[in-house]
């Protein structure tokens, strides 16, 4: 079995309104030295698969087709074998 940890982040130039709101809220908590917050996703996907190559291909495909929106997001992943 493999566990893929997938990180999906907004592209640089894309507005992250959530990050801005959280930053402002941190400021009002007294943390005025916070000067940027960007919020992304972290997904853990567990795959029944013995072959690493195939696991990799599957993760690639799910990221492209479903998990990340290529128009505005980037993704990367780590793959580790687990029992």
């Amino acid at each position: 079995m493999f566990k893929a940890t997938i990180f999906v982040t907004l592209k640089e130039s894309v507005l992250d309104p959530q990050g801005v709101a959280v930053k402002n809220s941190l400021h009002s908590l007294g943390l005025e030295n916070v000067h940027e917050v960007r919020i992304g996703k972290r997904l853990e996907v567990f795959l029944d698969q013995v072959d690493r190559k195939q696991a990799e291909a599957q993760v690639q495909m799910m990221c492209e087709k479903l998990l990340a929106n290529p128009v505005m997001e980037n993704y990367r992943y780590e793959l580790e074998e687990v029992s």
Binding site: P17, Q18, A21, V22, S25, S28, L29, I39
Partner: protein, 227 residues
């Protein structure tokens, strides 16, 4: 009976709530900006629905940091009535005035419809005008109404009669135990996902929200003389 309706950036049922108090109870009501923490002059507080802070991070989380929450906490401690509707409920959860947390609806979609509820406990200031087990129709409108708490908390809620409204029939969001509204142990703080302020005239499709407001007034009159 003087009501306060706190307004956070992104609140959007504030006007509806104010109108409901005016139309149903004909009592004074004041909109209070979230930066104000002094709520001493009010008898009850209704935290309105909406998308405070855009629902960013977690629904209710950013509003829970506002100065006005101090005043609301104080009012709750003094036994004043605090009602949180929809986003107001979510805010009460995030501040810890009510136990549990909200998750995204199990079907992941926003859901707006008139839901059927059953009134599970009429021994509260908010429901004394209803009859036990009464089935009522009140609109819901939310994407995060999937109530969660751990097993232990759930048992406590059940045992202490803190579950006030349950969805009757379809569970529209996946809430555990069909929970639509809960109160604190002292019964003066109620959080509910359905919107009673949207069910006060026949032309709205239901008038079942009226009794919730009149119950609050009746309770207050009984406890403060008919002021």
């Amino acid at each position: 009976m003087h009501f306060a309706v706190p307004i956070f950036p992104g609140s959007n049922c504030d006007r509806d709530t104010i109108h409901a108090i005016e139309d149903v109870l004909d009592q004074p009501v004041t909109a209070v900006w979230h930066q104000d923490s002094d709520l001493k002059k009010f008898d009850a507080i209704i935290i309105p629905g909406g998308f405070s802070y855009g629902d960013y991070l977690r629904t209710g989380a950013l509003a829970a940091q506002s100065p006005i929450m101090e005043g609301i906490r104080e009012a709750a401690d003094q036994g004043k009535l605090v009602l949180g509707i929809c986003n107001g409920f979510q805010i009460l959860l995030e501040t810890g005035l009510l136990p549990g947390a909200m998750r995204r609806n199990d079907h992941l979609q926003f859901r707006c419809s008139i839901s059927r509820l059953s009134v599970e406990n009429t021994q509260t200031p908010f429901t004394l005008g209803f009859s036990q087990g009464e089935q009522i129709r009140i609109p819901i409108a939310h994407i995060e109404g999937n109530y969660y708490c751990d097993e232990e908390t759930l048992q406590e809620l059940q045992q202490k009669g803190q579950i006030i409204f349950r969805y009757a029939g379809e569970n529209p969001n996946g809430s555990i135990d069909y929970i639509a509204g809960i109160c604190n142990e002292r019964r003066n703080v109620l959080g509910m996902m359905p919107h009673p302020e949207r069910a006060i005239f026949d032309w709205m499709g239901s008038t079942d929200g009226v009794k919730l407001f009149t119950s609050m007034l009746q309770y207050w009159k009984e406890n403060n003389g008919a002021a």
